[in-house]
């Protein structure tokens, strides 16, 4: 068991290193250059060249990467090209908002998604199942921004129950979290449903039923535990999606999170910020998936890696 854990940790570290190299190289391969994004259209070429030099972009890529690794070891992720402030500080400023939104959306996803999945699985074939499936489909297929703006217009403008946008107090978290959770909730619901249906017919469940165990106990204890695997898979993947893919929700709600930060940074070729966000979120992502993998082994002892 211990060797397994160590091995997984080493793998994770390798993954992170791979991510850092890939980010670094991709950014410098992209067309367009940072100085030209920062300077207005009316700036002369000499100013562009000079600014690029000032930003350290004239060195060979290997040199830049070496310098980068060395400063990261000291906790310095460089200066944001856009904001001219330490990239780490710019990113961390966005952390509270991001964490709040991600956690809230995750909670909604797990609570609503798993419940809906169980509900439709248990009531399979009835009109409740159909209604639940349609709800899930809508959640999966309505565009994020459409849902977000409609919610803003309804709850913010027409009813004035909730703030229309911004990061101020828990009321402003409600609409963005619901909007962001819509898609993963639907996905989790559907996957929970199909996993549950599969499990509900396995032999050992029938045995349990035959033995006279209460239906509820059968469902909750045995079925859920076994259906957890694919659901955990999806949840693990969704966290990555939530972190990096909350862009549209953050744009719509003017939510100062990392999703919008990174997309803006990509468009503006703000290399330090992109590098910082990706490495940080990759760390979180890899960490969570490490956890999920370890949970696999606890839940299903049959899974072992040869």
């Amino acid at each position: 068991m211990k060797t397994y854990i160590l091995r997984r940790v080493a793998q994770s570290a390798l993954t992170l290193l791979g991510v850092s190299v890939l980010v670094f190289v991709i950014l410098r391969v992209l067309p367009g250059d940072p100085a030209r994004m920062l300077l207005p259209d009316g700036a002369p070429e000499s100013a562009v060249a000079e600014l690029n030099r000032q930003l350290g972009l004239r060195e060979p890529v290997i040199v830049q990467y070496g310098l980068f690794l060395r400063s990261v070891a000291h906790g310095d992720f460089g200066q944001s090209f856009q904001y001219r402030a330490p990239a780490l500080r710019v990113v961390l400023e966005r952390l509270p908002a991001t964490v709040q939104l991600t956690v809230a959306a995750m909670l909604v996803t797990i609570a609503a998604g798993v419940s809906l999945g169980i509900f439709t699985a248990v009531r399979r074939g009835t009109r409740y199942d159909v209604a639940g499936t349609i709800l899930a489909v809508l959640g999966q297929s309505l565009p994020n921004f459409w849902l977000g703006i409609m919610l803003i217009l309804l709850f913010g403008v027409a009813l004035r129950w909730l703030p229309t946008s911004g990061f101020a107090g828990w009321t402003s978290l409600v609409l963005p979290a619901v909007t962001l959770a819509a898609f993963p909730t639907a996905l989790v619901a559907r996957l929970t449903r199909s996993s549950m249906l599969e499990i509900l017919n396995r032999d050992f469940i029938r045995t349990g039923r035959a033995k006279g165990l209460a239906e509820r106990s059968v469902v909750l204890r045995h079925a859920l535990r076994n259906a957890a695997i694919p659901v955990l898979t999806v949840i693990g993947l969704q966290i990555g999606a939530l972190l990096g893919g909350a862009v549209i929700t953050e744009s719509v709600f003017a939510w100062p999170g990392m999703g919008k930060l990174i997309v803006d940074a990509i468009f503006f070729r703000d290399f330090p910020v992109v590098q910082t966000v990706l490495i940080l979120s990759a760390t979180v992502f890899v960490g969570i998936n490490l956890l999920v993998d370890l949970l696999y082994t606890i839940i299903d002892p049959r899974i072992r890696y040869s």
Binding site: P31, L38, D41, G42, Q54, A85, S165, F253, A254
Partner: protein
């Protein structure tokens, strides 16, 4: 059931009543000095462009200039009809073609109490000229020396004539000399001489400022607190205004005007802006190198329909590359819509089934994609196929630099209310070599001659060069934009500005 979260107007009204009540109660007691501010209330504004920095010398964004104007004062201000008026400088005079002399206002202090004087100006100007890492640095490269002339005078000499220097200085806030000691720390809590003091800001999200009680202009500011929130998403920005969370928003599109007008408590203010929307050509490349093709393209575009239908009238026909009110504006023969003539020209020049690429910077200008598609249909009618390439900004600019485009959707807000920068960038060989590849020695000479401080000379030179570029269809000038603002009925004295600035120091709220 309506208001479940605290709304600023309740606070404002209470304060206002309290102050008025107190004033009435004190009737007979020595009254407040005439014009002394009875400051009250808070204003929240929503801007479409993110603010990236608090350093006046390190950006070239209209929106950021507008916000920083509240923290810092420049030497010179510009009014809405493009007149230059004193701010921290009381007078400015060209001593000769390459020397400007400024006299400064006395009795002004920075937010920390230190006095404003020539040291500040010298520091600010020298810094922006010498530190090439600053984004605004390139504008001031022509400056040769900045010297004190007593404690309240400054002499600036330049390598070549710099007639537009005062205009540029309207966008540069004055910094205290102490900022140089630790710039990074300074710009986390900046200090200026402006009507508001810095309170807080989150990068790219919002900035809050509180009133400066010792501001040198009497009666200013009129509110206690001002917050600027940056909300690029149009629907969200308008929703916040309609819900009463914001009192003013900028960059409203023509299609939303009716919706806003129909919202209670909200009105719409608009004013023709000093911005021209234009398409530029890659003049070094076939086929748009050919002036006849350019002329045909211009004739095939029905600018009137664009203004009337797509912009719902919120646009003005272009009669000069320089918008009205600015030096250099003139009345040139308008570009007509004549598709028949366009077809004739194409036929005579031997063009059949010609195809050109237009590059757009994604989401850069409002309704740009819509207008481009409309024009594509118009060009299709005369036999020109327009391929639309809507690229992310960095890629689009890369293509422009590399010259792999025929047309490029561009615009120019003539900041700072002066066309010298525009001409210098787009119509000189050096300026346009990585842009339009325009070269015309005669035009270049006129631009150089137009740099002198004498406005009459400048007007004459600009008129002459404009006739040339207008005739050769060097660019397609589509329309002048109209700046549209959504404003709460609770604001008093808000001015819809032609340069897209949102200025709140003399605005009050009820």
């Amino acid at each position: 059931m309506r208001e479940q979260h605290p709304r600023p107007d309740h606070i404002g009204r209470r304060d206002f009543l309290a102050v008025s009540g107190a004033a009435l109660a004190l009737a007979g007691a020595p009254s407040l000095a005439a014009g002394q501010a009875k400051r009250s209330g808070e204003i929240a504004a929503g801007l479409s462009e993110r603010m990236l920095t608090l350093d006046p010398a390190n950006h070239y964004s209209i929106s950021t200039t507008s916000v920083l104007r509240h923290l810092f004062d420049p030497l010179i201000d510009v009014t809405n009809d493009s007149k230059f008026v004193p701010a921290l400088a009381e007078t400015w005079r060209p001593v000769n073609n390459t020397t400007w002399r400024f006299t400064l206002r006395k009795g002004v202090t920075f937010h920390d109490g230190t006095p404003f004087n020539a040291d500040s100006v010298v520091f600010t100007l020298r810094r922006v000229q010498s530190n090439s890492k600053l984004i605004k640095s390139f504008v001031y490269q022509d400056i040769e020396s900045v010297e004190k002339d007593g404690d309240y005078g400054v002499i600036v000499t330049s390598k070549r004539p710099f007639g537009s220097l005062p205009a540029h200085l309207t966008m540069l806030g004055m910094l205290p000399p102490g900022a140089g000691k630790n710039e990074e720390a300074f710009f986390q809590k900046p200090i200026g001489t402006g009507p508001f003091r810095f309170a807080s800001w989150t990068h790219g999200d919002q900035i809050a400022m509180t009133a400066n009680p010792t501001y040198w202009k009497p009666g200013i500011p009129k509110v206690e607190k001002v917050t600027f929130r940056f909300i690029p998403e149009l629907s969200t920005r308008t929703a916040a205004l309609r819900a009463g969370e914001l009192q003013v928003i900028d960059r409203v599109t023509p299609d939303l005007v009716e919706t806003l007008k129909g919202t209670r408590g909200v009105k719409v203010l608009d004013v023709p802006a000093i911005e021209a929307q234009r398409w530029i050509f890659q003049l070094g490349r076939e086929p748009v190198k050919d002036p006849r093709l350019r002329q045909a393209i211009s004739l095939a575009i029905d600018r009137g329909v664009i203004i009337k239908e797509l912009l719902r009238g919120y646009g003005r026909p272009v009669d000069s590359p320089v918008p009205p009110g600015l030096i250099g504006h003139m009345s040139l023969p308008p570009k007509v819509y004549d598709p028949e003539k366009a077809r004739q020209i194409l036929k005579q020049a031997g063009y059949s089934n010609v195809s050109v690429d237009i590059v757009l910077m994604k989401d850069f200008y409002p309704k740009q994609l819509e207008i481009t598609q409309a024009v594509a249909a118009m060009l299709g009618d005369v036999g020109i196929k327009l391929n639309i390439k809507n690229l992310e900004i960095a890629s689009a600019r890369e293509q422009r630099t590399a010259g792999t485009y025929d047309l490029f959707f561009s615009g120019w807000a003539h900041m700072p209310h002066d066309p010298d920068w525009y001409f210098g960038q787009w119509f000189t060989k050096a300026g346009s070599e990585k842009l339009t590849r325009y070269t015309n020695p005669k035009v270049e000479q006129l631009i150089a001659e137009g740099r002198v401080p004498d406005p009459k000379v400048r007007q004459a030179k600009y008129e002459e060069l404009e006739r040339i570029v207008w005739d050769e269809d060097a660019e397609i000038w589509l329309y002048y934009t109209v700046a549209i603002y959504g404003v709460s009925d609770r604001l008093r004295n808000f001015e819809a500005r032609r340069d897209y600035y949102v200025l709140l120091s003399d605005v009050s709220i009820v």
